[in-house]
Symmetry: C2
Subunit: 108 residues, 2 copies
């Protein structure tokens, strides 16, 4: 892997590395939603949700579509959800390792 590849990957991870943006991605995983619906569901202020949506849109993680006064957002890269479950795996693996270590200490 080249330095540019690491840098690109780091940029992508930074986009995903935010509580609100993760909630948005997860919420859009199998259906499009309006901003209001996301605001209601996630519980952050409207302007905050909008800003995170802008960032995700600028980076082509989501796409928007206007319908009257509402703007619907959908996930462009369903793979992003698989990616999140992959992150969950890493956390589980970490946890298991820690438990193993703790058990070893107790056995001494």
């Amino acid at each position: 892997m080249s330095q540019k590849e690491f840098s690109d990957q780091a940029k992508l991870l930074k986009i995903l590395a935010n509580e609100v943006r993760l909630a948005i991605i997860y919420s859009l995983k199998d259906t499009e939603k309006t901003v209001s619906e996301l605001v209601e569901e996630i519980g952050s202020e409207q302007s905050i949700i909008s800003k995170h949506l802008s960032l995700l849109r600028l980076n082509n993680i989501v796409a928007d579509r206007r319908e009257g006064n509402n703007i619907y957002y959908k996930l462009l890269t369903p793979c992003a959800v698989k990616f999140l479950s992959c992150a969950t795996d890493v956390m589980r693996e970490k946890k298991e390792y820690l438990l193993k270590i703790i058990n070893q200490k107790h056995q001494r």
Copy 2:
């Protein structure tokens, strides 16, 4: 998914979302290495590599082992590498989507 789960996941992603740390993880993917080896390979300053290693160690992504003057680091969660390839998938999927869009525009 609960808010705490999103927050935990975001924390993990933040740890991984750095060019140097990605290079370290990738470099350790199938063999342990000393700090000097990582410095040589990655090309950042020693204190910088050390600090990133500390962060990874504190978060149980890597573990260290002293052997004389050298300290060997190894990856604790091999899953982290799979995770990175998963990130690469997301980027590829994004790119493919964009190409598709561009082609559609040209066909009009």
